[in-house]
Symmetry: C2
Subunit: 242 residues, 2 copies
């Protein structure tokens, strides 16, 4: 499925995401895809393309901005730059939410997207971003985080989540320990949110991302079974809400 | 799908299970279905029928024996009797395993069952029983526990599990706290078992069993979303192994 670059602005900065349109001209659900801390690579673009093959319009948004080079293995300075952007966005949740909202706006405005049927999915830091979008009260039917981080937030933030939440997580994730996810889900219960947590035994961080293995990071590794299972869980959730 | 009663013996005691054959004469996977602590009712029989509609041969086994009357709401003495049997089986794991093995033998011997493709699923105490069957080294490709209990067992027991394990659990299960399930999954990781745990927010015990609401037990309640999601997870697991 072809991906089309779309440039858009947020807060005076320029971003370039990639849109895949599987609508065949109908009005279909729109899915925002938010990349890992490692940047907008073929991983998130590939998920957008896969969603389009299933009939959705999917937009692989850009969290970092057009001036940030995508990190590349063998060039650690590129990853250091991306990590600095992630740190800054963790500290400035309003900016993070604004970037996500701008990208959701691009998706909603697409002529083949039914604005009443929207979802956001995210990977790693992109999962935290998707959850922040939901916490901002964005009209999402579903939000899914794969090996997602979670930002602190308030109980009021949690109560603003109208989306059904799916979290797919590696039991041995060294970046986002399962205990941190459990603390978050306890908060979601308090807030009355419909949530599910799928934990995969013996699985680490970035389990959906085949690119991650080239980085040789301890505890980060692709896991074919967990990738397949978590994607199936997403499809099941979409079958509920769309 | 029609259910046929099958009587069989284990340890000198007589049992009656119900078999549903969806094979259409082919050799297909066989699924053992193990009922809740509340006995072999329409709940487990219904799951066997549903599996047969999907092309499996399914056997809703009898954990309690033909002389134990199925518990009925409004007749608390029948539940008390069933609970006494459950307590006895919890204390006598060898007997529990023997009853499951006998039922698995019935399933394996069925002419339409491929004995190389077997699974066991169980609900509540039946989930603990299914896990004990796996811990006994039974040749199961998959085992699933829905709002399942877990018996103590040894590390050696855990290492005997060759099946892929799926646990679907209510976050607010008052009978089997999620923390108990987490302790078990940590052991499964130690043992190198392929496992997944799906936790459902705000969901209690017996969430798959519509009959449970008639008992008015605190923290026991049917949950349509969790029932649907957990069944979909089972179907996904079966699509992996069969």
């Amino acid at each position: 499925m072809a991906l089309s670059p779309i440039s858009y602005d947020a807060g005076g900065r320029s971003f370039t995401g990639f849109l895949a349109d599987g609508s065949e001209g109908l009005r279909v659900p729109g899915v925002l895809v938010i990349h890992e801390g490692g940047g907008l690579t073929d991983h998130a673009k590939g998920r957008a393309a896969r969603l389009a093959e299933l009939g959705y319009v999917a937009f692989a948004m850009d969290l970092f901005g057009s001036e940030v080079e995508p990190p590349a293995p063998g060039r650690p300075e590129t990853m250091a730059k991306a990590q600095a952007v992630v740190r800054a966005l963790r500290e400035d949740v309003a900016e993070l939410r604004a970037r996500c909202a701008a990208a959701l706006g691009v998706l909603r405005a697409h002529p083949h997207v039914d604005p009443a049927r929207l979802a956001a999915i995210g990977f790693c830091f992109g999962g935290a971003a998707a959850l922040e979008l939901a916490r901002s009260g964005a009209p999402l039917a579903a939000v899914a985080g794969f090996h997602a981080g979670v930002l602190p937030g308030s109980a009021e933030d949690d109560r603003a989540i109208g989306a059904k939440v799916l979290l797919c997580h590696g039991e041995q994730d060294p970046v986002v320990p399962a205990s941190q996810i459990r603390d978050f889900t306890a908060r979601l219960t308090e807030a009355g949110v419909d949530w599910q947590l799928h934990l995969y035994g013996g699985v680490g961080h970035s389990f959906t991302n085949i690119e991650i293995d080239a980085w040789n990071l301890p505890g980060f590794r692709y896991d074919e079974a967990a990738d397949r299972r978590s994607w199936a869980a997403l499809m099941q959730l979409f079958s509920e809400v769309f």
